[in-house]
Amino acid sequence: MKELLKLLENDAKLSPRALALMLEKEEGDIKAMIEGYEQDGVILGYRTVIDWDKTNAEYVTAMIELKITPQRGHGYDLVAEKIYNYPEVESLYLMSGGFDLAVFIKGKTMREVAFFVAEKLATLEDVISTSTHFLLRKYKDNNVIYGAVPVDERGNII
């Protein structure tokens, strides 16, 4: 049920009871639906969204554009699997347009990231070229706006 998924995507902490009330369903049905989605891989996980810039964590994020020669019979899947199994790789997308794979890497320093690209990615047999871009600032990610905490400005009570 799309509405259920949308509500959970927005707030994973919503209890089955709250969801049941909001969607006018029985709590048992909601629990069953959620379990079903988890088993089918529609719901893949529950994550907490953290603005690391508000902590003193040192990190760097980069987006690397990869051009690939797809292997005969496998397309992009084999090389994608090699890449996404690295823990440094946060995201991996197959894209249309001027390049093939968009890789998002997180490391402690620019040097670390640059070395990862040079030693682990560029060396892959299928990789023709890499182009590394460093992420300077997150404005919005996955429907969450980063930055100032919103303040309720409404004053008029009646």
């Binding site: 909001m22 009570i157 009646i158």
Partner: protein, 389 residues
Amino acid sequence: MLDYAKILSKTAQEIKPSGIRKFFDLLSERKDVISLTVGEPDFITPWHIRVAAIDSLQKGKTYYTSNSGTMELRSAISSYMERRYNLSYDPKDEIIVTVGGSEAIDLAMRASINPGDEVIIPQPAFVCYGPIAELAGGVPVIINTKEENRFKLTPEELKAAITPKTKLLVLPYPNNPTGAVMTREDLEGIAEILRGTEILVLSDEIYCELTYGMEHTSIANLEGMRERTVIASGFSKAFAMTGWRMGYTLSPREITRQMLKVHQYAIMCAPTMSQFAAMEAMENGSEDVKMMRDEYNRRRRLIVNGLRDMGLDCFEPEGAFYVFPNISKFGLSSEQFCQRLLDQGGVAIVPGNAFGDCGEGFVRISYAYSVSHIEKALERLKQFIETLS
């Protein structure tokens, strides 16, 4: 030194200021309060509507418009009323674009009330009707609607309040603060009493888009009612456009003509850039309204159940974004309950008697807040209620 009390308007001075002023002042001083007090949407005006206003400014549309509003906007409002509510009003001379629903109410009263005329106001209700009636020289006659009737105005109550001096009946449904609505059947009972009289109706339908489980019916839809009804409505609640000050009146041309005179001299015209935004809202805003209404509905179910679970009796609100639970069983007055809840529980809600004496024993809780905000508030409220039992 001028003796202002002697010099200034007696009528203005006799208007009572809001009785809960001091409560609100206290509220603003406290930190870490979860508020459920506001009377306006938490949504921001949809971007495409804001763009229409910005666009109009960039194009230099900064002059006055025609007094009753741009013809395009009036036509859009007319089509909308036809489409949504099966009501037919001529954009030429039966619609005035006003500065919010507030001005619509003011125009209706000033155009209809002669000094000493009685204005019937069902309470609990929004605070403006009495004072505006008084400013127009009218005498408010209050009807105390009852929880056992789900705060609907009953024909019996109306009949008992009518005197030879009655000029106007205010019908504020869907209702702030109770969330009550009047169905077609309910309105028919009222219309039956009014037919054949010379009593006019001011139907404040600002919350008409926010009804849950049924479509809104206007009394003007019923036989013999259109000729005596001024509908006051606007964009504030439906389109989250409170700050834009966009409202409208819908009424027979004879009434409109008189209201227009007041509007012309007192206001000139409603803000031009707001009118451009409102046009965009009328033409392309229906999806936004639906989205907001569905969201309010989800929150409504959550909050009503949450309140009932903790022992707060509340009848099911079917409109607006308020719930009006009965707190009399705790042995505290509305103000005491709210004060203690604020001090001990860290939650702010509005005492029911702010909306009329018959609101004593009730409190108004708004759900124009996010689900997570509401859940936090319910949690604190639950803990507070437990200390009272």
